[in-house]
């Protein structure tokens, strides 16, 4: 099941430019993970309201922390955002798959970073189903799948998605609408 992550969806992409993208994702995973944990912490402390919980905020926080970092170089903020969307997808699906493994009583599969139960148990199966459907979509239209990855997993708005993927905002809107309908149908099968 973990193979899902190795399929074309999260790996290929207009802006990741092939080689080095895997390393780029791995490099920002810890920062995204930290931000997720921080968000969980803030939710529990409940001193913050909704706006701090948005994916965009999380990704921007991670960007600010990593922008000055020497171990990482991104061509642009747009490039970073595209990588961050993949990293988010990677973390959430990995977490959902761990939930599934635990539920089935199988041996515990070690998590990439640590053992945090990030995805709610009740949501893990639907998240896995979405990820698998997204892999199938990437086979018939890779760009549409990338748009969903940026917008849903990366929490990016239309303008940023257009920048990250090097396409027009009109194309982003169209792709999003079509992919959304396709996935809706696919997930009800």
């Amino acid at each position: 099941m973990a193979d899902t992550l190795e399929q074309p969806g999260p790996k290929a992409g207009a802006t990741t430019k092939g080689q080095g993208s895997r390393a780029a994702i791995d490099a920002i995973l810890p920062a995204i993970y930290d931000e997720l944990r921080r968000i969980a912490h803030f939710r529990l402390r409940a001193e913050q309201t909704g706006h701090t919980l948005e994916t965009t905020g999380l990704v921007h926080e991670a960007y600010i922390r990593l922008a000055g970092s020497e171990r990482l170089e991104f061509e642009s903020r747009a490039h970073f955002l595209a990588i961050a969307a993949q990293a988010m997808r990677h973390i959430l699906i990995d977490s959902a798959l761990t939930r599934r493994t635990q539920k089935r009583g199988g041996g515990l599969r070690p998590l990439t970073i640590d053992d945090l139960p990030i995805v709610a148990e009740t949501r893990s199966e639907e998240l896995i189903a979405l990820d698998e459907a997204l892999v199938r979509l990437s086979v018939i239209n890779e760009r549409q799948a990338k748009v969903v990855e940026c917008r849903y997993f990366g929490g990016m708005n239309i303008d940023d998605t257009a920048l990250a993927l090097g396409i027009s905002t009109a194309t982003v809107k169209r792709d999003w609408m079509l992919a959304r309908a396709w996935l809706n149908l696919e997930l009800r099968k």
Binding site: L36, R37, I39, A40, H41, R43, L44, R45, A46, E47, Q48, T49, G50, L53, E54, T55, L58, M88, L92, A96, L116, P117, I118, V119, A120, E121, R123, S124, E126, L127, L130, V139, I140, N141, Q144, V148, R151, Y152, F153, G155, N157, I158, K173, R174, W176, M177, L178, R180, A181, W182, L183, N184, L185, L187, R188
Partner: protein, 349 residues
Amino acid sequence: MSEASDASRDWERLSEALALIIELPSSEQEDKLASIAGSDGVMRAELEALLRAHHAASALDAPVLDVLSISRESAGATLPAWSDEVIGARYRVLADAVGGGHGVVVKALDERLDRVVALKFLSSHLLENAVARERFKVEARAIASLDHPNVCAIYDMGDASDDRFFISMPYYHGETIAAKIARGPLAIDDAVSYALQTARGMAAAHARGIIHRDIKPANLIVTTDGVVKILDFGVAKLSGNAMTAPGFTPGTISYMSPEQTRAETTYTSTDIWSLGVVMYEMLTGAKPFRGAEAREVAEAICAEEPRAISELRADVPGALERLVMDALAKMPEKRPVSAKRLAESLEGP
């Protein structure tokens, strides 16, 4: 490989057709679909299914972080000192806090009366904002003046030791209408009952000059006994008490009335619109006005006619559909004249 590229070509063809259909007003979509598909029955069926899927609610519409489990374990080792804290020398916090609307809500034990309550706090980042603080107090007094089974009651309000301000309310067992809708369209009887109860609660508030301004499924809890409680008058203000700064647009965009999206003065008719949106969503499982971004949703609210309910769900009575569409009249004066009148219409003849 050729199989994949066939699928890819098929989807491209459907994509182009669907994009053409979707951009038309909903009344013209059927005709366009028929003319594109022609005698191709397979394509027609596929396009119809896709069009329905386009109009349906989707998990993709909610932020991905909604899938997160927020538990003590996932929050790491540095836990807050909330639990067991005693607030206002009277309330012992029992359970983890949850964020909501303009405040934060915790479950607590009222040690004086030995009952479980919900405490709502003004968010700390709003605390220094005098307007927000005053809004919060006005809200509390306004709701306290109401005594209606469909409006969440107010027990008490006060200051916690660290300058946080709170109100205490009953702790209800049940789930929100948002949670019910997430599982799909509601049974028609349930949708009518919830709408009716909400309209009655609204009517009681309106009679005292209180407009909710943020009626949405997440603010409507249905107790395990099937009683609707309108929650979170977080943005309510007393009618005529101009507390809302110009341009300030509270509320959730999807449920906002056209006049609210334009930051115009709003009256009780804004709540009637919002209840219309909630009714539409309860019946169809889909929001009537959608868009990729808030601005597009606002444009749809102001300019577009929603897809007919009967197209999405055949068993909705015509009279009920007309009532929902009346509530969604763009002009406030074309909507049902009051929440009381709307409630009477929902009660039937």
